[in-house]
């Protein structure tokens, strides 16, 4: 066990956990931030995607000890009022079916647009392909990413 002071969604939060604990479980079990989802635990599905200094990372593969002073953003902290352009586009296109994968999809899309505000279809596909949607909402996700890019 060790204590970590983490910068999460703009606040400093202290946790006392095994240093090897993946951020996914730190967020879900210890910080009451369950918006970040577990899907595979082996970097295959993207359900656990969060931002580390603005970059999309798989929180199931990120030990809490590796976070250091880097700022972490989760779906709960992406915007104050659900008004991030990606969230808005997701609502406009009514993307979700079961919704379980969508936090991860949104976090990947938000990081992608920050780096590349005008992605081509191919770039969207390439960047988003690490995020599985078992319900098959890919067509809508693609449309939503494109309309968020236009905003």
């Amino acid at each position: 066990m060790a204590t970590f002071n983490l910068k999460i969604n703009g606040k400093t939060r202290a946790v006392d956990v095994d240093p090897a604990t993946p951020m996914l479980w730190v967020l879900r079990d210890h910080l009451d931030l369950p918006g970040t989802k577990y899907g595979c635990g082996i970097a295959q599905c993207g359900a656990c995607t969060i931002h580390l200094e603005g970059n999309a990372v798989r929180s199931c593969q990120l030990p809490v000890s590796a976070v250091g002073k880097a700022s972490v953003t989760t779906i709960e902290g992406l915007s104050e009022k659900a008004d991030h352009p990606v969230q808005k586009a997701w609502l406009d296109h009514d993307v979700a079916q079961c919704g379980y994968c969508q936090a991860g999809q949104i976090m990947t899309a938000a990081a992608l647009l920050k780096r590349n505000p005008n992605p081509t279809d191919e770039e969207i596909e390439a960047q988003m392909s690490g995020n599985i949607c078992r319900c098959g909402t890919y067509v809508r996700i693609k449309e939503a990413v494109k309309s968020a890019a236009r905003k």
Partner: protein, 750 residues
């Protein structure tokens, strides 16, 4: 929980009552006679909801709360079912909030999500609930204003009378709640709908995009422990012995023990299917700690031998012997080939198929196969349970709480009214969550450790402890005469452990000489419903076979099907043809016209068509395939559906698009195989699911417009996708593919 069955008819459940803002029922209704009366003082609360029936609550300030009776797994019932109530209640959708209902089969009906049934089975009751409440509000206004009720009209939540009097529903709700429920109801004509048929956004959309705790895995309470199970490493194995010492030494671990799910001779319900009866359980404070401790378990496993189960399913109570062998998919495939040669059970016979085949000028025979599939719901199986000697609280994702309640009652020795099951949003279902062993496991674990517990399956647990789509095969034969007329049709299907045949489906009824047969091989690999059971294989095999027959006859594949349907309509063979030829033809014609089939403009595509009818709705797809980086890729799809009235068109479109993507993915990649009883795919690194870059760029969905009562959409669009993909693949590669998934074979020929 009001699960007593007291012989009250459903109409009497549309009984009005008042409840407090906390949603507590009061004694003013006879329904609450099942409950204690100690909340009566809540009547005096200033902001009380008036509950007009199980589905409707109205606040004095005109806020409307509608209750969704059925569990939500992404089919969007939390929006579409309340829309139906709101339509007949005649309220402004803007003022509506929706809540998931409690599990209460008396007040809220069957509460089962599956079989594409939600909208179909709730359409009439929900319209009646809305119409009854509206009528009671009109009656309340009539009494208050001293005018005849016939002169009181409603519009968007406002009552009015020609004399100028108006009142919001909220102002009349408390009075309306005391009135008797009307006996005769007038329902709206579809032409007057203002909410149904107008797309409404997912009522939980905002919560989804902000990461609110909606799902079973997100559910937690103070002091809740995490539990994981270790199941035997292979089907056909059971526990021999284990040593908990090392696991118990790990940080955060509270308990390690073995658990027997059902005692010997336990009478299982039809959905109590379980794979493994002996489980090792690790309980601890946090997920990561439990995961790590589980790795330290020392266990020996042994062959389980044949197991006798007592199951009461649809065909009544019977003893089922589950064979003990350690099975392998390769051997099962060889076994299927052997079985296919043996005589099978005749399921339907029209005319004289034997003679017709003997006299045929040409016989086409093809065999199709498909593997086990894992559901792979994005949210793995999990359930919360807090069981004490007096009562049980359970919360989590499941498709049919009413089915597990009797099982729990027996397992926990608690009366049903002491068992509360809360339905969380599900991260997918696809049939998997109709099987509730994981909920029973959670309940027994909580009882053992005397604490609130969340049982959680890892992805590996979820994939290797499945209730899979069975392994199937079917051999189709068609007889043509010298003029290339189709004179006989024969399908012989089998599977491990069930056959896929629906003997009365198309093309039965359209061909004079017809034979359908089935056979099955017992297995210990547990199977169950998977999005459109059996149909999801049949539509693949039959629809690609029909494509081949049409080609042999020199006919356009759509024309060929339409001709058969015309025959089935004008001069049907046999009586039990369970499809409507007109509606079947309708979706084919619609997709043909919308896709520009046979017209210039689609030359760059390899086109494949397929249609199917199942779960009361009709579906047809045309997939347009191209070659991209040497690999066949479905770039766009046209779909046509007939599910009657489309309650929420944009959400319905989403559902169909998702089914198309799911179908393409499973056609190309889906497979779960076993070696010596052990699943060979354990996570998404070796079980391939379709991803963004493999999904079509465009899926255009069209609905046949009619005023028929709505039927479901979760399953019907899924099966024919496989057939359409197979037929496009033929155009693309110049050869047929008979064995799913197609990708491994493609990689050999590319």
């Amino acid at each position: 929980m009001n699960n007593d069955t007291t012989g009250l008819d459903r109409r009497s459940f549309l009984k009005a009552s008042l409840i407090s803002s906390g949603g507590m029922m009061l004694t003013v209704s006879f329904l609450s006679s099942f409950k204690s009366a100690d909340k009566a003082e809540a009547l005096n609360l200033p902001d009380q909801w008036a509950q007009l029936n199980g589905y409707i609550q109205i606040m004095a300030d005109n806020k409307i709360k509608l209750i969704c009776p059925n569990p939500e797994f992404g089919q969007n019932v939390m929006t579409s079912l309340p829309m139906i109530v709101a339509e007949e209640l005649d309220v402004d959708w803007k003022n509506v909030t929706v809540e998931m209902g409690p599990h209460d089969n008396i007040k809220l009906g069957p509460q089962f999500s599956g079989g594409s049934n939600s909208v179909k089975m709730y359409w009439k009751p929900l319209r009646e609930a809305g119409a009854a409440a509206r009528q009671m509000l009109r009656e309340a206004a009539a009494q208050s204003w001293n005018v005849p009720v016939g002169e009181v009209t409603t519009k968007a939540g406002v009552l009015s009378h020609p004399n100028g009097k108006t009142a919001k529903y909220g102002a009349m709700a408390a009075k309306a709640a005391t009135l008797p429920v009307p006996k005769d109801l007038v329902l709206k004509s579809p032409k007057d709908f203002t909410i149904v048929r107008k797309s409404k956004k997912n009522v939980e959309g905002q919560k989804v995009v902000t990461g609110k705790p909606l799902f079973g895995l997100d559910y937690r309470t103070e002091g809740m422990l995490i539990a994981m199970i270790q199941h035997p490493p292979a089907f056909g194995m059971k526990l021999k012995s284990f040593d908990p010492a090392e696991a118990l030494k790990m940080p955060g671990i509270k308990d390690v023990f073995s658990l027997k799910l059902y005692e010997d001779g336990f009478e299982q319900g039809g959905f109590d299917t379980r794979t493994f009866n002996d489980l090792l359980v690790v309980v601890g404070k946090s997920t990561w700690e439990v995961m790590n401790a589980r790795k330290k378990l020392v266990a020996q496993w042994q062959p389980a031998g044949d197991v006798k189960d007592v199951v009461t399913g649809r065909e009544g109570k019977k003893e089922v012997v589950v064979p003990g062998a350690l099975e392998s998919s390769k051997a099962q495939m060889e076994q299927m080939i052997e079985y296919a040669k043996k005589p099978a059970q005749e399921l339907r016979k029209d005319g004289d198929p034997e003679a017709a085949f003997k006299n045929a000028a040409q016989v086409i025979e093809r065999t199709y196969t498909a593997p086990f599939l894992a559901h792979n719901c994005m949210e793995p199986m999990n359930f919360f349970a807090h069981v004490t000697d007096e009562k049980a609280l359970l919360a989590g994702p499941l498709q049919a709480p009413g089915w597990v309640e009797p099982t729990l009652s027996k397992l926990l020795n608690l009366p049903p009214e002491k068992i509360e099951i809360q339905m969380t949003r599900m991260g997918g279902g696809f049939g998997r969550r109709a099987y509730n062993h994981y909920l029973s496991e959670a309940a027994l674990i909580s009882r053992k450790v005397k604490a609130p517990v969340k049982l959680m399956y890892t992805r590996e647990d979820d994939m290797t402890y499945g209730i899979y789509r069975p392994m199937y095969t079917a051999t189709y034969r068609a007889a043509l005469d010298a003029d290339k007329n189709l004179i006989a049709f024969h399908v012989k299907g089998g599977g491990v452990p069930e056959h896929p045949i629906h003997p009365n489906r198309f093309p039965a009824g359209a061909i004079d000489n017809y034979l359908a047969e089935g056979w099955q091989i017992p297995s210990n690999i547990t199977i169950g419903a998977f999005r459109a059971p059996r149909s999801n294989f049949n539509a693949a095999a039959e629809q690609s076979f029909l494509d081949e027959v049409a080609e042999a006859m020199g006919k356009d594949p759509i024309r060929f099907r339409l001709d058969l349907l015309k025959r089935a309509k004008e001069n049907p063979v046999g009586k039990n043809n369970d499809y409507d030829p007109d509606r079947y033809a309708g979706v084919l014609e619609l997709v043909r016209d919308k896709s520009g089939w046979g017209k210039p403009g689609s030359e760059k595509y390899s086109r494949g068509v397929a249609a199917y009818f199942c779960h009361a709705s009709y579906a047809a797809h045309i997939v347009d395939m191209v070659t991209r980086d040497g690999q066949p890729y479905v770039e766009r799809v046209f779909s046509a559906m007939d599910c009657g009235i489309v309650v929420n068109p944009d959400a319905a479109t989403n559902m169909v698009q998702g089914a198309v993507v799911d179908g393409i993915g499973n056609a190309f990649y889906g497979a779960l195989t076993h070696k010596d009883g052990a699943a060979q795919q354990t996570n998404f690194n070796n079980y391939r699911l379709i991803r963004h870059n493999e999904s079509p760029k465009k899926i255009e969905v069209h609905f046949v417009q009619n005023d028929k009562d709505p039927t479901g959409l979760g399953e019907p669009p899924f099966p024919p996708v496989f057939g359409a993909v197979a037929n496009a693949l033929y155009k693309n590669k110049g050869r047929r593919f008979y064995n799913q998934p197609f990708q491994p074979e493609l990689e050999k020929v590319i």
